[in-house]
Symmetry: none
Amino acid sequence: MSLREKKVAKRKKDLLMSAIAIIGEKGYHSTTMEEIASKLLMTKGSIYYYFKDKQDLVYQSQKILLEQSNENIEEVLSEDLPYDEKLKKVMVVHIEYLITEQSGFVMGTNPEQFFSGKQLETILMLRDRYGNYIKQLIAEGVKEGVFTEVDEKIVRNIILGAMNWVVTWYSPNGPMDKTTLAKSISNYLLKIVLK
Amino acid sequence: MSLREKKVAKRKKDLLMSAIAIIGEKGYHSTTMEEIASKLLMTKGSIYYYFKDKQDLVYQSQKILLEQSNENIEEVLSEDLPYDEKLKKVMVVHIEYLITEQSGFVMGTNPEQFFSGKQLETILMLRDRYGNYIKQLIAEGVKEGVFTEVDEKIVRNIILGAMNWVVTWYSPNGPMDKTTLAKSISNYLLKIVLK
Amino acid sequence: MSLREKKVAKRKKDLLMSAIAIIGEKGYHSTTMEEIASKLLMTKGSIYYYFKDKQDLVYQSQKILLEQSNENIEEVLSEDLPYDEKLKKVMVVHIEYLITEQSGFVMGTNPEQFFSGKQLETILMLRDRYGNYIKQLIAEGVKEGVFTEVDEKIVRNIILGAMNWVVTWYSPNGPMDKTTLAKSISNYLLKIVLK
Amino acid sequence: MSLREKKVAKRKKDLLMSAIAIIGEKGYHSTTMEEIASKLLMTKGSIYYYFKDKQDLVYQSQKILLEQSNENIEEVLSEDLPYDEKLKKVMVVHIEYLITEQSGFVMGTNPEQFFSGKQLETILMLRDRYGNYIKQLIAEGVKEGVFTEVDEKIVRNIILGAMNWVVTWYSPNGPMDKTTLAKSISNYLLKIVLK
DNA sequence: CATGAATGAGAGTTCATTCAT
DNA sequence: AATGAATGAACTCTCATTCAT
């Protein structure tokens, strides 16, 4: 990748991050192109050099988040850990990532409200992939006798809900730092599946 | 209340319900006054006879939801039940109400995005009241030895998150009816606090 | 048609006429919604109460012109006149209408530049219908021995071109009024087909 | 002219031709600098090295067309031919040039829509010059008794209109090649002035 | 010379809001 | 009480234009 291309990639990434942050805070419709741009000292017109339109920018920003989430979980899954510890680590990583990126957008709403067609498909696919990883992990833990018998889908959704909800109530000024909090939450959730 | 006043009150309620339904489906900004009105065969201009502006309409619609939720929980709390069963019933009622009203809006996002000033205060107050009921219930259950020692705030938030998340994945076409589902979820969540 | 509907129809017609006039003068792209509206002391936003978008407004304005042209020619064709006089009258009416409405837009450009899909189809159909009337008239005149043998298509296009071109050079300040001019042009063009 | 200057002149010519072609097809406003440039594998920024702005580029492109047209007609006029054949040749050359360059742009619309000031003056001057050549030719033909008595201005405009209109209906896939067509049209038009 | 990147003015469009009827 | 019609502010998007490299 040439220097130029790197610069473009960097700028794109910057814009995506800017979009993620502001959309996470204000929501899709309240976020204007102006705001996204001005955070980087650009003007709104410039965004269109990098992205086709607002849809495209937002879509890509959400895609990145989901892709990163999938990478995160894949790494944890590949580690050699007992099922209970693995599930716990999955949760901790998820919560920490969520808090770090304030990425409560797609995670926390119907993507159907914002995307359609090919874009929606991709988003849903990435979401499903992520969900399946957790479901599988639970199912295996059950099969191996580490976890108790549960409906994997429902428990997966309970866990996802509890974790994603964190962005609505976490405050950096609270008594716990994000890692401690993430561990605490994970411990409680683990009780659902432990024998 | 005169007949005329009753009619006005009825119309208001209709509009609030219409707003709740559409906003629950499409989100605040994607919902237009036109849509809210046309569901009742009115024109958008008429709404302004009943409500000051969109803000006001939405605010009141969300207030109703939260007030009803508080009434729901207060009724359950007043019943004479053991702590575990009481908490379970609280959850079941919450989930059923959520699904019935599709009221995932305020429940599922930062009210700060949409309200401010006095309105925000009221919404937050109602939310807090609801949250406190659950926190108290947990705390008492712990004190009485029915529940195990837990951080009531965190567990409360876990429970709320898991429950509120339901609206994003519940499908009426799924294998479980909403009551069965609500019971199932509640059972799993109960494990967090049970000894 | 109720009074209300009449008013709406009137307003629509006004907007179409405004659009025709300005587009005839400045062209499609240089004509702004603002200009079209302000000619009627409205604001551009109001246009969208009557028309879906600019495309729609322009399309309908051009459709009206072509439909009126077709009605004009149909009326002349239905009259009981010898072929040469009939063709002459067709031309006179065409030229006068053109000058009156300054309607050189669709008449004078590729509709493909501005319309597509169903709209383009309709425009082309109306254009073709008009062209066919003239072609038929020539063909019949030839068959009846009033006109000399000619390629009807080419002659039709020559006649249409000469007539439509008028809008680019006619000046109301010239020595001839529009009727005299129209008659003069028609006489010259008639020589192409006369024996 | 140095090599460098020659290169610049060549590049300029290329850009003008590119502009003529695309504008002929899509119209002034729908043609972007990007398109004009990309046809020559350049980027739009480069255009500004050769032309002051879009106006300038378009103006020069239209000027070239008109100048070439004038040269064309001057050459024909200088030939030693009878008036009828001369007029016919003028028409054939005009039509062929039009079709070859698809140059229906300025020829086919009010230059007032696009130019003003000095530029407009020049364009109009070139147009007038061209028109005058034809008017003169007709007038002389009349005086010499080859043509019948006609209003030279009106007939000139009829002829120009019929010819310029060709670009809107000529199709390379039609039954006639462009020379045959040009001759045919010219023959018909000649009938207007012949005795 | 050429380009990549940025700019900003201006266009079309949406929609909450108003108000005479 | 309701509505039709109009408004205007805000937003997305386009594109001619500029300029450092």
